[in-house]
């Protein structure tokens, strides 16, 4: 399969501080890459560079074999989703989803938005304002708002970080289904190893501005620094103690 997104030697510094150092990454078409990293590791900066919201100090962002370094975020068709759903508080759930479509001056907005609300299981909440929605419902609307404009690439910055475990699990399934159904390519940032494994087709890890992309999930499991083996040992030990 061909490479859809390629980052070539991306570096970023703020004043004297180096945030990203020679980052290389590739993502295939219609695949999801899980990106693991602790707070302050540079993952948000990396996503913002891909989205065009930050400029890299060095390196290239290549999307669909085109260098998009100088392309403004409006023209990239790359949607960046934050941990906070960031719904527009003055717009209803329906209007939030319709936001991008109205900018594109599309026709049949009502039908498109209703179809999206239906697929999100949110049709009965269409007229509600964001302050009337739960955390999980807000995140669904945020997904809908991003997916309805059919982006080339979806960047998700710990979107389920603020949700409780049950809703989080439901959202992971919903996300997988939607991404597959729409044939989307995405980068999913998380600091939860389990979530990274469930969501991603591939896994990369970023630490102090340096990125390692694993060849396969298996090579990720086998790498000691991934923390997978430590996690398995922990649960095994717990199971043995219980028995």
């Amino acid at each position: 399969m061909s490479t859809f997104l390629e980052l070539q030697n991306i570096s970023k510094s703020f004043d004297e501080e180096t945030i990203l150092e020679d980052v290389n990454l590739s993502l295939e078409h219609q695949k999801t890459l899980s990106l693991i990293g602790a707070s302050g590791s540079g993952k948000t900066t990396l996503l913002k560079i891909i989205a065009g919201l930050e400029k890299a100090s060095n390196g290239n962002v290549v999307l669909n074999k085109q260098n998009i370094n100088n392309l403004p975020p409006q023209k990239r068709k790359i949607v960046y989703l934050y941990q906070d759903a960031l719904l527009f508080p003055h717009l209803s759930a329906f209007e939030n989803i319709a936001f991008g479509l109205k900018l594109q001056k599309q026709k049949n907005i009502r039908n498109t938005v209703n179809a999206m609300l239906e697929s999100l299981g949110m049709i009965e909440h269409a007229e509600k304002m964001p302050n009337q929605l739960s955390g999980g419902q807000k995140q669904r609307i945020a997904f809908g708002r991003a997916l309805v404009i059919k982006p080339q690439l979806l960047l998700l910055d710990e979107p389920f970080g603020a949700l409780d475990p049950k809703i989080r699990s439901n959202m992971q399934k919903l996300f997988k289904n939607l991404v597959v159904a729409q044939g989307l390519s995405s980068i999913f940032v998380t600091h939860d190893i389990k979530e990274a494994i469930i969501i991603g087709d591939g896994i990369a890890k970023i630490e102090k501005g340096k990125l390692i992309q694993f060849e396969s999930k298996q090579s990720f499991y086998n790498t000691k620094s991934s923390g997978v083996q430590a996690e398995i040992d922990f649960w095994k030990q717990l199971k043995n103690e219980k028995e």
């Binding site: 919201l53 975020p73 409006q74 960046y80 527009f88 936001f99 404009i149």
Partner: protein
């Protein structure tokens, strides 16, 4: 107890307005009489419809205050954004406090030479610019708290959804900033509306706003006209307060 306090508060606000209103219709009201000798529409008819001096002052005051409030809202909205996302935010915000350390009249004395040099003294434009020096930092302080990481993230989100900077401003940022805009407009209007020293000094007494007229009438010991000017001075802020409250309630 709460109800009693509410009534006391209402009396404190309403009584001066009623008293001033009564005085503006009075003629020959001397101490220790409880009521004036005559009630008359003469004060109102001559100053509003006859000589028209107070009507002119009302229009000038409204013009200056509305223009100033609008200018402060627009300029401070954009300037405060630049300041809020600048790495020198704290330094710039300290600078905005300078007009509060110096009183408006001291500011007027400092700048008077430049106003005279540019022939702006004694002119409405001069008064407007002078008031802007004082009110603009005020607006920047009001908007400063509006610009935070969440607004920045929302703005960036609109860009990734395909919005141009103009679309992002009109469809996301301005609707979100409505309460701050209303507050800024209202406060700036009041700053200008009740401003006396700076207006008098830069306006050389030729720019006759309502506050200038009130003091003129008081100096002339013309209490009935002073009361009339005060009524005109008090009513627009009350009206604005009512609209402001209604807008915020509707928003909620």
């Amino acid at each position: 107890m709460n109800r009693v306090l509410k009534y006391i508060y209402a009396c404190l606000v309403v009584f001066p307005v009623i008293f001033l209103m009564a005085m503006s219709f009075a003629e020959k009201w001397r101490f220790p009489d409880f009521w004036p000798e005559n009630w008359t529409f003469k004060n109102w008819s001559s100053s509003i419809f006859g000589q028209g001096d107070l009507l002119y002052s009302l229009i000038v005051s409204l013009g200056i205050s509305l223009m100033l409030a609008s200018l402060v809202c627009v300029i401070s909205f954009f300037v405060s954004k630049e300041i809020a996302y600048s790495k020198y935010r704290k330094t710039y915000m300290k600078l905005t406090l300078i007009p509060y350390i110096l009183s408006p009249i001291i500011l007027a004395v400092i700048f008077q030479y430049y106003f005279a040099f540019t022939s702006l003294t004694g002119k409405i434009l001069g008064v407007l610019i002078a008031q802007l020096f004082f009110a603009l930092p005020f607006g920047i302080v009001i908007f400063n708290n509006f610009w935070n990481d969440k607004i920045l993230s929302l703005e960036q989100l609109t860009f990734t959804l395909g919005a141009t900077p103009k679309e992002s401003l009109l469809k996301a940022v301005i609707p979100l900033s409505k309460p701050a805009i209303i507050l800024c407009f209202f406060q700036s209007f009041l700053v200008s509306w009740f401003e006396y020293g700076l207006t008098r000094f830069i306006g050389l007494g030729k720019v006759k706003t309502l506050t200038v007229m009130v003091f003129n009438f008081i100096n002339e010991a013309n209490v009935f006209y002073a009361a009339l000017a005060c009524v005109l001075l008090v009513l627009p802020p009350i009206f604005l307060l009512y609209i402001n409250k209604k807008a915020l309630i509707l928003k909620q």
